[in-house]
Symmetry: C2
Protein backbone atom coordinates (compact mmCIF):
# COMPACT_ATOMS: atom_id res chain seq x y z
CA UNK A 1 0.00 0.00 0.00
CA UNK A 2 1.21 3.49 -0.89
CA UNK A 3 0.33 6.76 0.82
CA UNK A 4 0.57 9.98 -1.15
CA UNK A 5 1.02 13.47 0.31
CA UNK A 6 0.11 16.36 -1.98
CA UNK A 7 -1.16 19.91 -2.07
CA UNK A 8 -3.65 21.09 -4.68
CA UNK A 9 -2.48 23.12 -7.69
CA UNK A 10 1.19 22.19 -7.59
CA UNK A 11 3.62 19.79 -9.23
CA UNK A 12 2.41 16.91 -7.05
CA UNK A 13 -0.40 16.47 -9.56
CA UNK A 14 2.01 14.74 -11.97
CA UNK A 15 2.56 11.88 -9.53
CA UNK A 16 -1.11 11.82 -8.63
CA UNK A 17 -2.08 11.37 -12.27
CA UNK A 18 0.52 8.63 -12.69
CA UNK A 19 -0.79 6.79 -9.61
CA UNK A 20 -4.18 6.82 -11.31
CA UNK A 21 -2.80 5.79 -14.70
CA UNK A 22 -0.95 2.93 -12.99
CA UNK A 23 -4.06 1.66 -11.24
CA UNK A 24 -2.12 1.87 -7.97
CA UNK A 25 -3.66 1.11 -4.60
CA UNK A 26 -3.02 4.19 -2.46
CA UNK A 27 -4.44 6.58 0.08
CA UNK A 28 -3.83 10.32 0.24
CA UNK A 29 -3.31 13.25 2.57
CA UNK A 30 -3.96 16.75 1.27
CA UNK A 31 -1.77 19.45 2.82
CA UNK A 32 -2.96 23.04 3.09
CA UNK A 33 -0.06 25.32 2.21
CA UNK A 34 -2.04 28.40 3.31
CA UNK A 35 -1.89 26.91 6.83
CA UNK A 36 1.80 26.00 6.40
CA UNK A 37 0.96 22.35 7.02
CA UNK A 38 4.09 21.35 5.08
CA UNK A 39 6.11 22.79 7.98
CA UNK A 40 4.30 20.95 10.77
CA UNK A 41 6.52 18.69 12.92
CA UNK A 42 4.44 15.70 11.79
CA UNK A 43 5.06 16.37 8.10
CA UNK A 44 8.72 17.32 8.54
CA UNK A 45 9.22 13.87 10.07
CA UNK A 46 7.95 12.44 6.77
CA UNK A 47 9.63 14.90 4.41
CA UNK A 48 12.25 17.23 5.95
CA UNK A 49 12.27 19.19 2.68
CA UNK A 50 8.86 20.65 3.68
CA UNK A 51 7.58 20.12 0.17
CA UNK A 52 5.21 17.89 -1.72
CA UNK A 53 4.84 15.38 -3.21
CA UNK A 54 5.99 12.60 -0.88
CA UNK A 55 5.17 8.95 -1.38
CA UNK A 56 5.23 6.58 1.57
CA UNK A 57 6.15 3.12 0.31
CA UNK A 58 6.59 -0.15 2.22
CA UNK A 59 10.34 0.55 2.14
CA UNK A 60 10.38 4.21 3.11
CA UNK A 61 9.48 7.70 1.95
CA UNK A 62 10.29 8.76 -1.59
CA UNK A 63 10.49 12.40 -2.70
CA UNK A 64 11.34 14.27 -5.95
CA UNK A 65 8.92 13.96 -8.84
CA UNK A 66 11.25 12.44 -11.50
CA UNK A 67 12.24 9.62 -9.12
CA UNK A 68 8.68 9.07 -7.98
CA UNK A 69 7.24 8.88 -11.50
CA UNK A 70 9.75 6.22 -12.55
CA UNK A 71 9.19 4.30 -9.31
CA UNK A 72 5.42 4.19 -9.78
CA UNK A 73 5.76 3.15 -13.42
CA UNK A 74 8.37 0.53 -12.60
CA UNK A 75 6.36 -1.05 -9.79
CA UNK A 76 3.21 -1.16 -11.96
CA UNK A 77 4.64 -2.62 -15.17
CA UNK A 78 1.29 -3.78 -16.49
CA UNK A 79 0.33 -0.12 -17.06
CA UNK A 80 3.28 0.35 -19.46
CA UNK A 81 3.90 3.97 -18.46
CA UNK A 82 7.50 4.17 -19.62
CA UNK A 83 9.94 2.53 -22.03
CA UNK A 84 11.46 -0.68 -20.77
CA UNK A 85 14.48 0.04 -18.60
CA UNK A 86 16.35 -2.42 -20.81
CA UNK A 87 16.09 0.07 -23.65
CA UNK A 88 18.83 2.34 -22.33
CA UNK A 89 18.48 5.00 -25.02
CA UNK A 90 14.68 5.38 -24.85
CA UNK A 91 14.76 5.36 -21.07
CA UNK A 92 17.52 8.00 -21.07
CA UNK A 93 15.56 10.25 -23.41
CA UNK A 94 12.56 10.10 -21.13
CA UNK A 95 14.75 10.77 -18.12
CA UNK A 96 16.31 13.73 -19.92
CA UNK A 97 12.90 15.20 -20.64
CA UNK A 98 11.83 14.80 -17.02
CA UNK A 99 15.07 16.38 -15.73
CA UNK A 100 14.50 19.36 -18.00
CA UNK A 101 10.96 19.77 -16.65
CA UNK A 102 12.21 19.49 -13.09
CA UNK A 103 15.29 21.73 -13.19
CA UNK A 104 14.47 24.23 -15.95
CA UNK A 105 10.70 24.49 -16.59
CA UNK A 106 9.52 24.08 -13.02
CA UNK A 107 12.34 26.24 -11.64
CA UNK A 108 11.46 29.03 -14.09
CA UNK A 109 7.84 28.85 -12.93
CA UNK A 110 8.77 28.77 -9.24
CA UNK A 111 10.27 32.27 -9.50
CA UNK A 112 6.71 33.60 -9.72
CA UNK A 113 5.46 32.57 -6.28
CA UNK A 114 8.52 31.15 -4.54
CA UNK A 115 11.04 33.93 -5.10
CA UNK A 116 11.76 33.84 -1.37
CA UNK A 117 13.84 30.72 -2.01
CA UNK A 118 16.43 32.79 -3.86
CA UNK A 119 16.19 36.35 -2.53
CA UNK A 120 15.36 38.01 0.78
CA UNK A 121 11.53 37.89 0.91
CA UNK A 122 11.50 41.47 2.25
CA UNK A 123 13.35 42.75 -0.84
CA UNK A 124 10.28 43.87 -2.78
CA UNK A 125 12.31 45.08 -5.75
CA UNK A 126 14.04 41.72 -6.17
CA UNK A 127 10.84 39.72 -5.70
CA UNK A 128 9.16 41.86 -8.39
CA UNK A 129 12.20 41.52 -10.68
CA UNK A 130 11.96 37.72 -10.48
CA UNK A 131 8.24 37.79 -11.23
CA UNK A 132 8.69 40.14 -14.16
CA UNK A 133 10.95 37.71 -15.97
CA UNK A 134 8.71 34.65 -15.57
CA UNK A 135 6.53 35.08 -18.71
CA UNK A 136 9.68 35.16 -20.87
CA UNK A 137 11.71 32.48 -19.12
CA UNK A 138 8.74 30.10 -18.96
CA UNK A 139 7.89 30.74 -22.62
CA UNK A 140 11.50 30.06 -23.63
CA UNK A 141 11.55 26.83 -21.63
CA UNK A 142 8.35 25.59 -23.28
CA UNK A 143 9.43 26.77 -26.72
CA UNK A 144 12.18 24.15 -26.72
CA UNK A 145 9.57 21.50 -25.92
CA UNK A 146 7.26 22.89 -28.62
CA UNK A 147 9.94 22.34 -31.28
CA UNK A 148 10.35 18.66 -30.37
CA UNK A 149 6.73 17.75 -29.65
CA UNK A 150 6.01 16.32 -33.08
CA UNK A 151 4.02 13.24 -32.04
CA UNK A 152 0.87 12.70 -30.05
CA UNK A 153 2.88 12.13 -26.88
CA UNK A 154 6.28 13.26 -25.57
CA UNK A 155 7.89 9.92 -26.43
CA UNK A 156 6.05 9.65 -29.78
CA UNK A 157 3.19 7.18 -30.16
CA UNK A 158 3.00 5.99 -26.57
CA UNK A 159 1.75 7.81 -23.48
CA UNK A 160 4.35 7.84 -20.66
CA UNK A 161 4.93 9.45 -17.29
CA UNK A 162 6.51 12.41 -19.11
CA UNK A 163 3.10 13.36 -20.51
CA UNK A 164 1.55 13.65 -17.05
CA UNK A 165 4.51 15.75 -15.92
CA UNK A 166 4.43 18.08 -18.93
CA UNK A 167 0.67 18.53 -18.57
CA UNK A 168 1.06 19.46 -14.91
CA UNK A 169 3.64 22.17 -15.52
CA UNK A 170 1.82 23.47 -18.62
CA UNK A 171 -1.37 24.16 -16.66
CA UNK A 172 -0.35 27.53 -15.28
CA UNK A 173 1.20 29.26 -18.27
CA UNK A 174 -1.64 31.70 -18.82
CA UNK A 175 -1.66 32.54 -15.11
CA UNK A 176 1.99 33.62 -15.45
CA UNK A 177 1.18 35.77 -18.47
CA UNK A 178 2.90 33.49 -20.97
CA UNK A 179 1.86 34.13 -24.56
CA UNK A 180 0.71 30.61 -25.44
CA UNK A 181 -0.09 31.49 -29.05
CA UNK A 182 3.46 30.45 -29.90
CA UNK A 183 3.01 27.05 -28.25
CA UNK A 184 0.20 25.33 -30.19
CA UNK A 185 1.57 21.81 -29.81
CA UNK A 186 2.07 22.16 -26.06
CA UNK A 187 -1.48 23.47 -25.73
CA UNK A 188 -2.91 20.65 -27.85
CA UNK A 189 -0.94 18.12 -25.81
CA UNK A 190 -2.30 19.67 -22.63
CA UNK A 191 -5.80 19.13 -23.97
CA UNK A 192 -5.11 15.48 -24.76
CA UNK A 193 -3.69 14.70 -21.32
CA UNK A 194 -6.37 16.78 -19.62
CA UNK A 195 -9.10 14.68 -21.23
CA UNK A 196 -7.79 11.32 -19.96
CA UNK A 197 -9.91 9.68 -17.26
CA UNK A 198 -6.90 9.26 -14.94
CA UNK A 199 -6.11 12.98 -15.15
CA UNK A 200 -9.72 13.89 -14.45
CA UNK A 201 -9.85 11.56 -11.45
CA UNK A 202 -6.66 13.00 -9.93
CA UNK A 203 -7.80 16.60 -10.41
CA UNK A 204 -11.24 15.77 -9.05
CA UNK A 205 -9.77 14.38 -5.87
CA UNK A 206 -7.36 17.28 -5.42
CA UNK A 207 -10.02 19.90 -5.88
CA UNK A 208 -12.59 18.07 -3.81
CA UNK A 209 -15.04 17.69 -6.67
CA UNK A 210 -16.50 14.23 -7.03
CA UNK A 211 -15.13 12.38 -10.07
CA UNK A 212 -17.60 11.61 -12.85
CA UNK B 1 31.96 5.43 -29.43
CA UNK B 2 30.78 8.37 -27.33
CA UNK B 3 31.67 12.03 -27.73
CA UNK B 4 31.46 14.32 -24.72
CA UNK B 5 31.04 18.11 -24.80
CA UNK B 6 31.96 19.96 -21.63
CA UNK B 7 33.26 23.22 -20.24
CA UNK B 8 35.75 23.35 -17.38
CA UNK B 9 34.59 24.14 -13.83
CA UNK B 10 30.92 23.35 -14.27
CA UNK B 11 28.46 20.53 -13.62
CA UNK B 12 29.66 18.63 -16.71
CA UNK B 13 32.47 17.30 -14.52
CA UNK B 14 30.05 14.82 -12.92
CA UNK B 15 29.46 13.05 -16.23
CA UNK B 16 33.15 13.29 -17.10
CA UNK B 17 34.11 11.54 -13.86
CA UNK B 18 31.49 8.85 -14.47
CA UNK B 19 32.78 8.25 -18.01
CA UNK B 20 36.19 7.63 -16.42
CA UNK B 21 34.79 5.45 -13.63
CA UNK B 22 32.92 3.42 -16.27
CA UNK B 23 36.02 2.85 -18.37
CA UNK B 24 34.08 4.27 -21.32
CA UNK B 25 35.62 4.77 -24.75
CA UNK B 26 35.01 8.41 -25.62
CA UNK B 27 36.45 11.56 -27.10
CA UNK B 28 35.86 15.11 -25.89
CA UNK B 29 35.36 18.69 -26.99
CA UNK B 30 36.04 21.47 -24.50
CA UNK B 31 33.86 24.57 -24.96
CA UNK B 32 35.10 28.00 -23.91
CA UNK B 33 32.20 29.81 -22.24
CA UNK B 34 34.20 33.07 -22.14
CA UNK B 35 34.04 32.98 -25.95
CA UNK B 36 30.34 31.99 -25.88
CA UNK B 37 31.16 28.82 -27.81
CA UNK B 38 28.05 27.19 -26.36
CA UNK B 39 26.02 29.61 -28.52
CA UNK B 40 27.80 28.90 -31.78
CA UNK B 41 25.58 27.60 -34.60
CA UNK B 42 27.64 24.40 -34.66
CA UNK B 43 27.03 23.68 -30.99
CA UNK B 44 23.38 24.74 -31.05
CA UNK B 45 22.85 22.09 -33.72
CA UNK B 46 24.12 19.56 -31.18
CA UNK B 47 22.45 21.00 -28.08
CA UNK B 48 19.86 23.73 -28.67
CA UNK B 49 19.83 24.37 -24.90
CA UNK B 50 23.24 26.08 -25.31
CA UNK B 51 24.52 24.28 -22.24
CA UNK B 52 26.87 21.50 -21.30
CA UNK B 53 27.21 18.62 -20.83
CA UNK B 54 26.06 16.91 -24.00
CA UNK B 55 26.84 13.31 -24.87
CA UNK B 56 26.78 12.19 -28.48
CA UNK B 57 25.84 8.51 -28.56
CA UNK B 58 25.37 6.16 -31.53
CA UNK B 59 21.63 6.82 -31.21
CA UNK B 60 21.62 10.58 -30.78
CA UNK B 61 22.53 13.40 -28.42
CA UNK B 62 21.73 13.09 -24.73
CA UNK B 63 21.56 16.08 -22.36
CA UNK B 64 20.72 16.64 -18.67
CA UNK B 65 23.13 15.28 -16.08
CA UNK B 66 20.79 12.93 -14.16
CA UNK B 67 19.78 11.17 -17.40
CA UNK B 68 23.36 11.04 -18.68
CA UNK B 69 24.77 9.57 -15.47
CA UNK B 70 22.24 6.73 -15.45
CA UNK B 71 22.79 6.11 -19.19
CA UNK B 72 26.56 5.82 -18.79
CA UNK B 73 26.21 3.53 -15.77
CA UNK B 74 23.59 1.41 -17.49
CA UNK B 75 25.60 0.93 -20.68
CA UNK B 76 28.74 0.02 -18.71
CA UNK B 77 27.28 -2.50 -16.26
CA UNK B 78 30.62 -4.08 -15.43
CA UNK B 79 31.60 -0.89 -13.57
CA UNK B 80 28.65 -1.29 -11.16
CA UNK B 81 28.05 2.44 -10.78
CA UNK B 82 24.46 2.23 -9.63
CA UNK B 83 22.01 -0.16 -7.97
CA UNK B 84 20.46 -2.68 -10.32
CA UNK B 85 17.46 -1.21 -12.08
CA UNK B 86 15.58 -4.29 -10.90
CA UNK B 87 15.86 -3.02 -7.35
CA UNK B 88 13.13 -0.41 -7.75
CA UNK B 89 13.50 1.10 -4.28
CA UNK B 90 17.30 1.48 -4.30
CA UNK B 91 17.21 2.84 -7.83
CA UNK B 92 14.47 5.31 -6.86
CA UNK B 93 16.44 6.55 -3.87
CA UNK B 94 19.45 7.23 -6.05
CA UNK B 95 17.25 8.97 -8.60
CA UNK B 96 15.71 11.08 -5.83
CA UNK B 97 19.14 12.16 -4.64
CA UNK B 98 20.21 13.11 -8.16
CA UNK B 99 16.99 15.05 -8.78
CA UNK B 100 17.57 17.01 -5.58
CA UNK B 101 21.12 17.85 -6.69
CA UNK B 102 19.87 18.90 -10.11
CA UNK B 103 16.81 20.96 -9.19
CA UNK B 104 17.64 22.29 -5.71
CA UNK B 105 21.41 22.27 -5.03
CA UNK B 106 22.60 23.19 -8.50
CA UNK B 107 19.80 25.71 -9.00
CA UNK B 108 20.68 27.41 -5.69
CA UNK B 109 24.31 27.65 -6.85
CA UNK B 110 23.38 28.93 -10.30
CA UNK B 111 21.92 32.09 -8.79
CA UNK B 112 25.48 33.23 -8.10
CA UNK B 113 26.71 33.51 -11.68
CA UNK B 114 23.64 32.85 -13.81
CA UNK B 115 21.13 35.25 -12.29
CA UNK B 116 20.42 36.53 -15.79
CA UNK B 117 18.33 33.41 -16.33
CA UNK B 118 15.74 34.67 -13.85
CA UNK B 119 16.03 38.48 -13.80
CA UNK B 120 16.88 41.22 -16.26
CA UNK B 121 20.69 41.13 -16.44
CA UNK B 122 20.76 44.95 -16.39
CA UNK B 123 18.92 45.04 -13.05
CA UNK B 124 22.00 45.35 -10.83
CA UNK B 125 19.96 45.41 -7.63
CA UNK B 126 18.20 42.15 -8.47
CA UNK B 127 21.40 40.42 -9.62
CA UNK B 128 23.07 41.43 -6.35
CA UNK B 129 20.04 40.30 -4.34
CA UNK B 130 20.26 36.84 -5.90
CA UNK B 131 23.96 36.58 -5.17
CA UNK B 132 23.53 37.71 -1.60
CA UNK B 133 21.24 34.81 -0.80
CA UNK B 134 23.47 32.08 -2.29
CA UNK B 135 25.64 31.34 0.79
CA UNK B 136 22.50 30.64 2.84
CA UNK B 137 20.45 28.80 0.23
CA UNK B 138 23.41 26.61 -0.78
CA UNK B 139 24.25 25.87 2.86
CA UNK B 140 20.64 24.91 3.56
CA UNK B 141 20.57 22.63 0.51
CA UNK B 142 23.76 20.84 1.58
CA UNK B 143 22.69 20.70 5.22
CA UNK B 144 19.91 18.29 4.29
CA UNK B 145 22.50 16.09 2.57
CA UNK B 146 24.82 16.37 5.58
CA UNK B 147 22.15 14.93 7.86
CA UNK B 148 21.71 11.84 5.69
CA UNK B 149 25.33 11.20 4.67
CA UNK B 150 26.02 8.62 7.34
CA UNK B 151 28.00 6.11 5.25
CA UNK B 152 31.15 6.31 3.19
CA UNK B 153 29.13 6.97 0.04
CA UNK B 154 25.75 8.50 -0.77
CA UNK B 155 24.10 5.10 -1.17
CA UNK B 156 25.93 3.62 1.84
CA UNK B 157 28.77 1.17 1.30
CA UNK B 158 28.96 1.36 -2.48
CA UNK B 159 30.23 4.18 -4.70
CA UNK B 160 27.64 5.24 -7.31
CA UNK B 161 27.07 7.97 -9.87
CA UNK B 162 25.52 10.08 -7.09
CA UNK B 163 28.94 10.43 -5.46
CA UNK B 164 30.49 11.94 -8.56
CA UNK B 165 27.54 14.33 -8.85
CA UNK B 166 27.63 15.40 -5.20
CA UNK B 167 31.40 15.94 -5.37
CA UNK B 168 31.01 18.13 -8.44
CA UNK B 169 28.45 20.45 -6.88
CA UNK B 170 30.27 20.52 -3.53
CA UNK B 171 33.48 21.86 -5.09
CA UNK B 172 32.48 25.51 -5.14
CA UNK B 173 30.93 26.04 -1.74
CA UNK B 174 33.79 28.10 -0.32
CA UNK B 175 33.82 30.22 -3.48
CA UNK B 176 30.17 31.13 -2.78
CA UNK B 177 31.00 32.02 0.82
CA UNK B 178 29.25 29.00 2.32
CA UNK B 179 30.30 28.29 5.92
CA UNK B 180 31.42 24.69 5.44
CA UNK B 181 32.25 24.18 9.12
CA UNK B 182 28.68 22.94 9.53
CA UNK B 183 29.11 20.36 6.76
CA UNK B 184 31.90 18.02 7.93
CA UNK B 185 30.51 14.89 6.30
CA UNK B 186 30.02 16.59 2.93
CA UNK B 187 33.58 17.91 3.09
CA UNK B 188 35.01 14.50 4.05
CA UNK B 189 33.00 12.90 1.23
CA UNK B 190 34.38 15.50 -1.18
CA UNK B 191 37.87 14.47 -0.12
CA UNK B 192 37.15 10.79 -0.72
CA UNK B 193 35.72 11.32 -4.22
CA UNK B 194 38.44 13.87 -5.05
CA UNK B 195 41.15 11.31 -4.32
CA UNK B 196 39.82 8.65 -6.70
CA UNK B 197 41.90 8.09 -9.83
CA UNK B 198 38.92 8.57 -12.15
CA UNK B 199 38.16 11.96 -10.59
CA UNK B 200 41.77 13.04 -10.91
CA UNK B 201 41.89 11.97 -14.57
CA UNK B 202 38.69 13.88 -15.45
CA UNK B 203 39.87 17.05 -13.70
CA UNK B 204 43.32 16.75 -15.26
CA UNK B 205 41.82 16.63 -18.73
CA UNK B 206 39.43 19.50 -18.08
CA UNK B 207 42.12 21.77 -16.71
CA UNK B 208 44.67 20.79 -19.31
CA UNK B 209 47.11 19.33 -16.78
CA UNK B 210 48.53 15.96 -17.75
CA UNK B 211 47.10 13.15 -15.63
CA UNK B 212 49.54 11.32 -13.40
Amino acid sequence: MLHFYYAPRCCALASHIVLEEAGATYTTTRLDFTKQQQRSPEYLAINPKARVPALVTPQGVLTETPAMLVYIAQTHPQAKLMPSMDEAWAFAQMQSFNAYLCATVHVAEAHWQRGNRWVDPDDAHAIAALKKRVPTSVFDAFELIERNLTGEWVMGDTYTISDAYLFTLAQWMEFYGVDVSGLPRVIAHRGRVGARPATLRAIAEETGVAAA
